[in-house]
């Protein structure tokens, strides 16, 4: 309130109230969900005391266990693959003089961000149904491949942003000191890129872990991940068990995103 000598040019009538109400609306449902995951009773509206009951129930549910393991496997593979591929692509497309085809590369990389998920899901359903029939393989490979593809842009953007801000002179200095190109890359460029790479990997992991639509269309029978398992359960009677899983997923996402923020803050 320092600049409020007489007339605050930054003030707009009602804006503060609307903004605060928006934050309230944004958080109230999520907070409610978290609180009621600890409810002793069945209800999602009547509080009957604190309990870990639904977390225990979720933990002992074989389907949930399997889905959780599957989610983590897919997200781990997909985020690692996507990050490696995105790092290479970023090295190929950043800090180079513009070349013919560069726009095409950008378009292809960013394409998953523009096409509605339902369309990609349907497209993959069609292709993978044929491949599954032809090869007889119906493992997690399809999910990992699909997730890798749509995670690439999420990994690519922070890595590219980091790379663009890098000082070329450090690498030139390494080369002047007779470092081979590979050595200069390993010892200079790569460490400098690391915050971007880690950030990209984390985003990719969260995006893969949260995906519902594409997974729903690509998965074979009995290949539920946590989100698709939850989506299936929402059709039936909802138990606070779902609240418990949601809360766990929520905290994983929040933890990863917080770490991402910290990483990015250091950069700046």
């Amino acid at each position: 309130m320092s600049e409020r000598a007489s007339f605050d040019i930054r003030r707009m009538p009602g804006f503060v109230a609307i903004a605060l109400a928006t934050f309230l609306v944004l958080y109230a449902p999520i907070v409610t969900l978290v609180i009621y995951s600890f409810n002793a009773g069945m209800s999602v509206a009547l509080w009957e005391g604190f309990s870990w009951r639904w977390y225990e129930a979720a933990m002992h549910n074989q389907q949930i266990q399997d889905a959780a393991v599957r989610s983590v496997i897919v997200a781990s593979f997909a985020s690692v693959f996507a990050t490696v591929l995105a790092t290479m692509a970023a090295l190929g497309t950043t800090r180079v003089r513009p070349f013919r085809g560069q726009t095409t590369i950008y378009a292809l990389i960013n394409q998953p961000l523009m096409v509605p998920e339902i369309v990609t899901g349907v497209a993959l359903l069609i292709v993978f149904a044929t491949v599954k029939q032809a090869t007889g393989y119906s493992g997690l490979g399809y999910l990992i491949l699909a997730h890798t593809a749509f995670c690439i842009p999420f990994a690519y953007l922070p890595i590219r942003a980091r790379l663009e801000g890098l000082d070329r002179s450090l690498e030139t200095a390494a080369a002047d000191l007779y470092a081979t190109p590979w050595r200069a890359f390993r010892r200079v460029t790569l460490p400098l890129m690391m915050p971007g790479i880690v950030a990209g990997a984390m985003l990719a992991f969260v995006i893969s872990l949260d995906d519902v639509v594409i997974t729903e269309f690509v998965k074979s029978a009995g290949q539920d991940t946590l989100p698709t398992y939850m989506l299936g359960q929402l059709r039936r009677a909802v138990t606070p068990e779902i609240n418990a899983i949601s809360t766990v997923l929520l905290f994983i996402s929040v933890a990863i995103v917080s770490a991402f923020f910290v990483l990015n803050r250091k950069k700046a």
Binding site: F7, I9, R10, R11, M12, F15, I18, A19, L20, T22, L26, P29, I30, V44, A45, L85, A86, M88, A89, G92, V96, R97, P98, F99, Q102, I105, L108, I109, Q111, P112, M114, V115, I118, V119, T120, G121, V122, A123, L124, I126, V127, L145, T148, A149, D210, V212, V213, F217, M230, L234, V238, I242, N243, S246, L250, S253, I256, V257, F261, R265
Partner: protein, 324 residues
């Protein structure tokens, strides 16, 4: 000083005497650089073409095939899939029953997406303004608070809304306990529920670009307007809105496009009756067993999205051009 189409010799002029030799060398180096770029990008592109872009082409092929009896397709050319999409748009043709159903769903998708965008502007604009006018440190905290829901699973957020509005949910329980209503208000499985859910889920997508635009705002212009006796409303309309227009458009596109293709939110909150385009598409690949129609509907959705994107790019380019 960038040439629109950079050629090798233009950007690296070699000294005159050794011109040809140096040119060849520069040419070689340039070629190698470009080749490295492609080699490094190739693995990512391969995955993207296999599992993102390529399958879209196959959807195009499928949309022109005949439907199999138990899902899948029969490999014979047929316009039936597209025929059904376009017929559904024909209001004046009352001979086909399904047409009305498709039309209703198309209209619901467009209407709810536009309303979602408007609600997000109404709430997002003041919120972004609020964040942009905080002190530098607290700004980051508020921004972080907007980002958290953005990165939280969409299904969980939809589910959280469901817990609030369903018959045994918070709102109804509180109102009934307080004696305001006798029977729960039916909010689930209505267009209202979908609208509420989508606005809730996509709001951060509006706030973030708006904030980015407002953060760069030159507040001296606003001060000048006030000095010239402009009212707050006039400043908002004539100074702030035109200046943050790129952010406003970006936010609108970012909200409108996923709303149009929404699948999870209408499925959970709208139920089987209040379908949107995404659910209609899914239906054709599930119970509907009409893959060509599903493929044609997917491409229709894709075309609408692309048109919206092109529209957006045009406006941004025009803005950029007018600023120079």
């Amino acid at each position: 000083m960038h040439a629109p189409k950079p050629s090798v010799d233009a950007s690296h002029p070699a000294p005159a005497p050794a011109r040809t030799g140096a040119l060849n060398l520069a040419d070689e180096a340039r070629k190698r650089e470009v080749r490295t770029s492609w080699l490094l990008s190739a693995p990512a592109l391969l995955v993207l073409v296999t599992a993102a872009s390529g399958p879209l082409l196959i959807v195009l092929v499928y949309s022109f095939l005949a439907a199999g009896d138990y899902g899948g397709v029969v490999w014979s050319l047929s316009g039936e899939g597209w025929f059904k999409v376009f017929l559904s748009r024909d209001i004046f043709d009352d001979t086909v029953g399904i047409a009305d159903a498709h039309l209703t769903i198309f209209w619901r998708s467009v209407r709810l997406s536009m309303l979602t965008t408007l609600i997000c502007i109404a709430l997002g604009f003041p919120t972004a303004w609020f964040i942009a006018t905080r002190s530098r440190e607290s700004r980051n905290v508020w921004l972080f608070l907007i980002t958290i829901p953005f990165w939280t699973n969409l299904l969980i957020r939809t589910f959280a809304i469901m817990e609030v509005i369903r018959s045994e949910g918070i709102v109804n329980t509180v109102l009934m306990t307080a004696g305001v209503i006798e029977r729960p208000i039916q909010m689930m499985y209505t267009d209202f529920a979908i609208l509420l859910g989508m606005a809730y889920v996509y709001l951060p997508l509006m706030v973030l670009p708006l904030y980015a635009a407002m953060e760069r705002l030159d507040f001296r212009l606003i001060e000048a307007a006030y000095d010239l006796y402009a009212s707050r409303w006039r400043v908002l309309r004539r100074i702030v809105v035109p200046l943050v227009k790129p952010g406003l458009i970006a936010g609108s596109i970012l909200v409108f496009i996923p709303s149009l293709g929404a699948y999870v939110t209408p499925r959970v909150l709208g139920g089987g009756k209040n379908m949107m385009l995404g659910n209609l598409i899914e239906l054709q690949f599930g119970q509907g067993r009409n893959w060509p129609l599903g493929a044609a509907l997917s491409l229709t959705l894709l075309v609408i999205v692309m048109v919206a994107l092109i529209f957006y790019v045009r406006i941004v380019q025009k803005e950029a051009a007018s600023r120079e």
